[in-house]
Symmetry: C2
Subunit: 242 residues, 2 copies
Amino acid sequence: MRSRENLIPVYYRLAEDVKKQIESGELKDGDLLPTEAQLGEKYAISRMTVRQGLALLAEAGLIDTVKGKGSFVTRPRLNQLVIDLKHSAANNGQLRPKLLAVNLIRNNPELANDLGFTGESNVITVKQLLFNESMPVAIEEKFLRYQKGKPLLETQLEYADFPELIAKHQESVPVRNDMVISVAALSAEQAKLLEADEALPALVIKQVIYSKDDIPLGVSVTLCHKDRFELKATSYPLSGRL
Amino acid sequence: MRSRENLIPVYYRLAEDVKKQIESGELKDGDLLPTEAQLGEKYAISRMTVRQGLALLAEAGLIDTVKGKGSFVTRPRLNQLVIDLKHSAANNGQLRPKLLAVNLIRNNPELANDLGFTGESNVITVKQLLFNESMPVAIEEKFLRYQKGKPLLETQLEYADFPELIAKHQESVPVRNDMVISVAALSAEQAKLLEADEALPALVIKQVIYSKDDIPLGVSVTLCHKDRFELKATSYPLSGRL
DNA sequence: GAGTGGTCTAGACCACAGA
DNA sequence: CTGTGGTCTAGACCACTCG
């Protein structure tokens, strides 16, 4: 039953109430919540509506529901952090891309093999330099399977983010993006592009995008200037969900 | 209605069907799904059950449901990558901790202020060295608000992960973990601890754990040897959910 | 206005946990 | 066995979108 004064759904109210009890310490890690029937009685709502509220809490990682036993309070998953690449770029100020080179590398099975592009020996490479207001921030190099009849449009090359570029240029649907974050020292050439000293430490972000059959569709390697770029992550990306 | 042959719920079958259609390209980005009523008719199930299936797809980021319009296919969120710290440590082989120092630093408002510990001038520091089978991998230094009557137990110090340590030693409930990933060169002292060359580039992982009022409860800074540790993230951590 | 998803009900039967 | 959550129904009314 929706109260007339407040337009927010009842199940949402219930979820917020429980959330507050958890965050205030009133409900501690491992505690058992009232049963769904009890909660339904307390809020004067049907059991399905209670379950809708509990689903929100489970999604946020605040409770763990076990069949036949009940719903237990769990510590929020602070060990799972989310990197939002779109937002991350914005945090570092909107980055302006400058296209350095686009190449179609034919008949280079070694390169294709290195990238995991089995059954394909033609590879497209896209090299870009990313700027903030005044300085070069990162060098991004992308590798894609060559796909007949799917031209790379100028606007896509410059402004599309990597997953979007893959989606536009590959037949297969991209379903997974794996990332490895590491560190390297800049080569002379890289240092020159970034207007930095040679051998300066740099953040290396490697992404591999896969299709549903675990076939790599594209690889991206980004070298970031250590003082001009920070990679951020948070355990609490649920925004207004709860 | 649950079919007798297969024990999986109907709403799950529906979600998997739609997922397959999206991954095969049969349903493309932006396409409109059949209405909930139509799907209910097709699968001979009630509308609430259809909605349960669509909720799974929405959670996985495969569809976007809009009131009054319908459910649209969206590209999976490949720009949102999840770092699983617990799993990440396992990927790099189980890390064995060695406690270097625990200190209670009294009356150092500058340090407390740097850490964001407003209204607190006593800070506990915990310094650890993390090993794989044979070599030192990382130096981790943790900073906690001093909390009266909450002693740091030996076992917690050594084996608890950072969010767990905070939860055990702070009155306030930790609700958010923000991370910044950057790069630094090793100092002479740090290089010696890691059995590495001075000025070697290293990965720096800084975590700040907050309470619900955005009060920092603890800070952790981890320096990782560039060749012995990799930080991984993936856009597809949903495991067996769909 | 007609059509859509959002919320909610008051039941039902099932599978699982535990005494 | 009782109590729990998991699934599912066949309705209902609402708020929103669009023609």
